[in-house]
């Protein structure tokens, strides 16, 4: 599978889509939703709360495990995808579209150079079968 080229990625399998107005939309990758299995609950930071790059911005629970959602950017939450609370399956069905999680006003403390391109991320998740 190939990850969308217009997004940036981190090792914790979260993505960020940078918009031209200085905001970014965050979500989890297709690899993440596939590994997690059916998502049953999503918990997200409130609008107005701060998020820090490489720190948690919420939790995601699947039938297998509870995991932290890790933010690729620093900034302030300006919008949440309230639909995923009622329909967490959106994260499984469309992790890059309807399954997005939060929108952040990105602060300049964000170090974009630490984020992976789609190509780097695809190499990163490639299984190392012996």
């Amino acid at each position: 599978m190939t990850s969308p080229a217009n997004l940036k990625y981190i090792r914790d399998h979260d993505w960020a889509c940078f918009e031209s107005d200085g905001t970014a939309i965050l979500g989890v990758t297709d690899f993440a939703q596939e590994s997690l299995g059916d998502v049953v609950f999503v918990e997200l930071r409130e609008v107005g709360e701060a998020v820090t790059q490489f720190q948690p911005f919420g939790e995601i629970e699947s039938v297998k495990a509870v995991s932290e959602l890790v933010s690729p950017v620093s900034g302030t939450v300006i919008e949440r995808n309230d639909e995923v609370f009622a329909k967490p399956e959106l994260v499984n069905q469309a992790p890059y579209e309807e399954g997005w999680l939060i929108k952040v006003k990105v602060s300049d403390t964000t170090d974009v150079s630490k984020l992976m391109s789609a190509g780097d991320y695809d190499t990163f998740i490639e299984p190392d079968f012996s």
Binding site: S35, G37, D38, V40, F41, E61, V63, K64, A65, P88, E89, P127, F129
Partner: protein, 483 residues
């Protein structure tokens, strides 16, 4: 309970032979009570039938990793059922329950001896409560020494999942430490994480990978030098019994899930017992009560419930799950010194036997001798045939075997965590190995057979999402009407 019929009554009440009383607040009474209406025989049949859907260690092999589902000798139940054990009350005067208190006192001493510690507290009623007690003692210790700035607890990523929750509940900040390529605690990462704010480290030894952390001496040294407390998660104590004493390794506190290591039927979620054993510096902080022995001048011993000097307080009502303590005591005394050491030997040999037979069929993430449990990965089956760890587990049910723990520890993809325990024979292990090999062949030849398993169980593949999101936990008249 879909057999409810309006108006059916299961019991006959005798005529009223006492004066009618007026209740102080009659509005508290409900006119309607939502109860299924069934006869006694229907009720008995209902419960008997659902009890047959149940699976327990008394039915068959139950290799649920990390849970130590070992056979529970019936003798232990018999001991716990004696009237002197089962028909006493926590409020009875101490003088009338001296036997029970003596048993607790001796169990405290035995557990301290087994773990190489100074003293035992029996109050915690589950493993996680033992962890919480350990973390509260850690906090009390640092505060007592005037070091409130020690707020960080380090936890390796191969620790039990409850560890971070316990540390967090006790008010600490949790920092995760990665494992190195051998599955040990990463020493460099550990060195980097310790500082003046270190409260302690919670280490599961052996880890949830079923591996003995061979970096332990170095880990102890680093934490000690930084002024931290070493907490041992003793959930896997089964692997160390009579071989290694955590106290001698340098741990300050360790809990033991008595219901796992020292037998107790615990598949249904309880009752547990999470005794905490502590080294000298934590003794004053033990949860209350602890049993103390007083030698009278006439040479007679008297047992009392004592309160440690700077106790963190109570972990719950009274003094722990007494029935669980009786069973643990009975198990240990039945085995004796030699038997206790044989527990860990047989448990470790059994797990390694399974590993040796299955490592070429499933994938072994860490090529090392394991302890009492082995973690395999179903990753290759998933890649090659689209068969997941879950599918393998569901198929095991068809063969009458309880599935192992799956998808845990998280550091192993599609993990299958198998713990045979010492109470299984080589024939049982061979049967399990044959079944696991058969399932690997089925995955190749007929993957749909696995995707749709179980086929022979009372319930087929369950909708796990609906079970989590819309749990149906009790009978409601409205739901009965739908059926």
């Amino acid at each position: 309970m879909d057999r409810s019929v309006p108006g059916r009554i299961g019991t006959t009440l005798p005529p009223l032979d006492v004066p009618i009383q007026t209740l102080p607040s009659p509005e508290l009474l409900r006119n309607e009570l939502e109860m299924p209406e069934v006869s006694e025989s229907e009720l008995v049949r209902y419960f008997s039938q659902i009890s047959q859907f149940n699976f327990s260690i008394d039915h068959n092999f139950y290799p649920l990793g990390s849970c130590t589902m070992k056979y529970n000798p019936k003798l232990n139940d018999e001991m716990a059922g004696f009237p002197g054990m089962s028909e006493i009350h926590p409020h009875q005067p101490e003088g009338t329950v001296q036997g029970a208190l003596q048993l607790m006192y001796e169990l405290q001493r035995i557990l301290a001896e087994i773990t190489g510690m100074a003293m035992t507290g029996l109050a915690p009623m589950a493993g996680a409560e033992g962890e919480l007690a350990g973390m509260l003692m850690t906090r009390a210790y640092h505060l007592d020494r005037g070091e409130p700035g020690r707020t960080k607890v380090l936890i390796p990523d191969s620790a039990h999942g409850t560890n971070p929750a316990s540390a967090s509940m006790a008010g600490f900040e949790v920092v995760e430490i990665p494992s190195d390529s051998n599955g040990n605690t990463d020493i460099e990462a550990l060195k980097f994480a310790v500082g003046n704010d270190l409260a302690g480290l919670m280490l599961t030894q052996p880890s949830t990978l079923g591996l003995f952390d061979t970096n332990i001496t170095e880990v102890v040294q680093i934490i000690r030098n930084a002024g931290g407390i070493l907490y041992g998660d003793g959930a896997n104590l089964n692997a160390l019994l009579g071989r290694v004493k955590p106290g001698e390794l340098g741990f300050d506190v360790i809990h033991s899930n008595l219901h796992k290591t020292f037998t107790q039927p615990h598949g249904g979620g309880g009752p547990g017992a999470g005794a905490v054993m502590v080294g000298k510096r934590l003794v004053p902080y033990l949860p209350t009560p602890v049993v103390e022995k007083i030698e009278e001048p006439n040479g007679v011993a008297r047992y009392i419930l004592g309160k440690p000097e700077k106790t963190i307080g109570r972990m719950g009502g009274f003094h722990g799950n007494f029935g669980a303590l009786v069973r643990a005591y009975s198990y240990i005394r039945t085995l004796g010194d030699q038997g206790i050491a044989q527990v860990s030997e047989d448990a470790v040999i059994n797990a390694n036997y399974i590993m040796s037979q299955l490592k070429d069929v499933y994938e072994l993430p860490y090529e090392r001798t394991c302890m009492h449990e082995v973690v395999l990965s179903a990753r290759k089956l998933k890649r090659d045939y689209g068969v997941s760890a879950l599918d393998v587990c569901k198929r095991l049910i068809d063969y009458g075997i309880h599935p192992p723990t799956m998808y845990f520890p998280l550091v192993v993809e599609d993990a299958l965590m198998i713990e045979p325990t010492e109470t299984e024979s080589v024939e049982t292990l061979d049967h399990f190995i044959d079944v696991m090999k058969k399932i690997a062949v089925e995955a190749k030849c007929n993957p749909d057979l696995l995707h749709e398993a179980p086929h022979n169980a009372p319930n087929s593949r369950l909708d796990e999402v609906a079970a989590v999101r819309r749990p149906d936990l009790r009978w409601k008249r409205s739901s009965a009407n739908i059926q």
